[in-house]
Amino acid sequence: MLNLHFQRHAALLQLALLLLLWPALSLWSFLLLLGFISFAALQSFDKVPKLSLKTANIVAALTATLFVLSIRQFGAMHFLMHILLLSALLRLLALRHHGEAQQLVWVHYFIIGCSFLFHQSMTLAFVILSTVAANLHLHYLLFSPEPVPWKRLSRTTPYLLWIIPVWLGLFLLFPRLSPLWQLPSSQQAISGLANDIEPGSIEQLVQSDATAFRVSFDNGVPPPQSQRYWRAKVFEQFDGRRWSVERDFSKRSLRQSDPATSAVESISYQIIAEASYQQSLFSLATPTQVDSSIESLPAGLVQAKRPVTQRISYRLSSQLRGVMSTDQRESELNQVIGEHNPQSYRFAQQLSQRYPEPHHFAEAVLDHFRQQAFYYTLNPPRLGAQSVDDFLFNTRSGFCGHYASATALLLRQAGIPARVVGGYQGGLWYPEQNYLLVRQRDAHAWVEYLVEEQWHQLDPTAAIAPERVLSGLDESLSDADRLSLSSPWLASVPLLNQVRLQLLHLDYYWSVWVLGFNQQRQTALWQSLYNAWRDYGRTGLYVVAGLLALLCMAGLWYLYRLKTKTGSYQLMLRFIPALRYKPEGMPVSQALARLAQSNPALASELNSTNQLYQQWVFASDQQARTELFHRLKTKHKTWKRLQLPDGFQP
């Protein structure tokens, strides 16, 4: 059983596992483990001998030491993956006994489970499920004498089919728990908006076509494009070039939502966010109700309880109004202007003398962008250390980050608290699938300024490139910029694009129904099952009872037919199975006599039955028929135990 066949399959499976755990590995550890696998592959073709247990242990100890030394680089979870893979690979290299192969298969299952922590997309989920099938095959080889008998499998299929309802039933109904304890999480480069914005950072982000998150709205209608500002981060510290998140941001006290504003209509929606390896999440305007699985932050933001390493889904309700200020300190913090960008300071002073009212001032800044020769471009010229001065009075072309940065600074210089907000704007609405797709290329930056305890949203990009806000990035860019964004050959094949889009939709359903199934949904399912029972339970009971009654009647009718209508031959064969094996051409009476010979204990029984049978058949005695039927029925268990005489072939 532990043949080369097993070895070959196991090496192939381990290669697949290694590739699946790629995100957890560094290049050198990947190559090292790959080396072990190729050694196992060579073994499976009998090119190199098996390792002795001692050698395997020494190699394992050395490699494990290497891993321990680089545990800082890996992080605890990736270290665990390394150790798991190492143990499986070396076990295969020194595989001798049946018991060791069992351990190997066991560890494979666990590694396959772990690989789901890194991949949740539908395609990869199917790949991983096929590795489960491969491991099941290995498992089968261990305990069965021959390879899977595909031809004979049809006999087992009805039993195998039971796996599916049991599986889904368990998934839907088995109790779910909230996390029992904290486990180390995967460390990977973050994606999405970083914790600071400098000229050029958002331009890089929009190069990516990857999905950032998807939203479905409870009422099925998204707010208009111009209101879809998904806030992720607020940047409140400015050093002349770079805006960054304030260091003590999360320590600020939360503000309770005041009841006076609860009259504003709120919208509820569900967001499925992709893995970003950071905590910040997305929300519209002012969130009022927040899922228990996520946390509220100051400034109306939300965040996950731990870095988002896999797709998560959460529900929110928001009111489409500006966020309220939390405290005095916040407004002071957002007035800091620093000692830089002197030209823009003078400009702000001049402008604020003409427009002392904050709203008018903000409008004046936007007018300035509109009236002067400002350009909106994805490839702006590089800016110096005094980035705002450089931008406003020199280059005059930039992306949303440039405009937001300049506007926020001008507002501050005019004495109005202001900050840059980072997030996403817009998104593509798919009415048939009923969800909004927000991609990384929708990344955006805009401005909020504080007037009387409330932050007002101001998007300077809307002034310079209104198409950007109204119909997305593609419309607002020049042809050259657009070309640099998407790979041209993909865009030029409409069929391929269509397929890609359909896969994207399928992936959405996968996220909603498989990945997003959580405790609340399960509770809702139980609730609906209970409701269904309450509403239709009684009816259901009647239906079941009716069906049972029908079945009983059908059974009785069948018995009646058997008793009165069935021919003699069929009747005997129906009750005495041994007669089915009699040689062809042998009459029933003779077969009964033969049976009586080979079953001496039942001989008298059989002989009298034979007599009744002959009376009925040859003398048409109806009395004998009734008696025969009665005898056949009452002794039906006896007839099944008959020993077959020679010549009867089962």
Binding site: Y109, I112, F116, H139, Y140, F143, S144, P145, F171, L183
Partner: protein, 315 residues
Amino acid sequence: MSALNWLKTQMKTRFWQRLDRWLLKRHPKPECYQFNHSTLLVFPSRYGFWFLLLLLLLYLLGTNYQNNLVLLLAYLLLSIFLVTIWLAWKNLSGLSVQLTSKQSTFCGTPLQLQLKCSSSHPVVALDFICEQQKVTFNGTSEKCQLTLPVVRRGCFPLPRIQLISYFPFGLIRCWSYLPSQGEYWVFPTPLEPRQQANQIEAEQDGQQQPQLPDQLKLYQSGDSVRHLYWKRLARQPHAPVVRAAEQQITPDPRWVVIPELKGPALEQALSEACHQMLHLEQAGISYGLKTPGSQIALGSGALHLQQCLQRLALC
């Protein structure tokens, strides 16, 4: 400690007796054992419990990372485990086993237990285990042979044969027993009479072996001290000699006689008697058996031979 051991053995025998009774009640026909829901036992194997631990670990992993796919995997494996219970039972259910062996052998020749298995569907990876012996059976209908090593003559109860299968994934152990019923006989090894052997030996190396007259033979433990040839003992203390028994002086070839001996001497005599009887039976001469305390009258035929051999086995 010994009391504890005694209790243990007592409980063990009690247990097996009860099991046998339980099994016999469920097998209506003792000559052919049919295995179905009332006679097959099903329980997770040791690996099955390891597998359940794996499921628990996967469940915890899935719960702690709130990862539905890990949970899905755990449930998939659990449902496979559940279906395996069914498959394991289905594999053996409907199997019938017939014990067909003549249930007697000569000492030194292993006993062959013939098992005739038949089933309506192919049975996979079924092991018959009997006293550390293992035979694997695959397919629909086949004869299996278990060899039972025998060391002592006598009449022994047939050992309990265990049927066990871990098919298909080794997670579930499905097993049952063929109840221990009936007995098997181990007859003495037939050996050519000692004298002839001695003579041949003596011819081969005459120097070392003392030359003996016809009436004398070398002592072996168990020979009666009364027959010792004392004169010879003084001369050759390392090779004592006894007078051969009287019946060998006037042997009636039709009567096989077992003298009153003990130990290896008795074994020797029994083996020779066995050989003699087989010889007589083959030649078609009727013969009788005299043992200390009993005798079987002259006769011949297979039944007679068996009767005589059984008497020898019990001597």
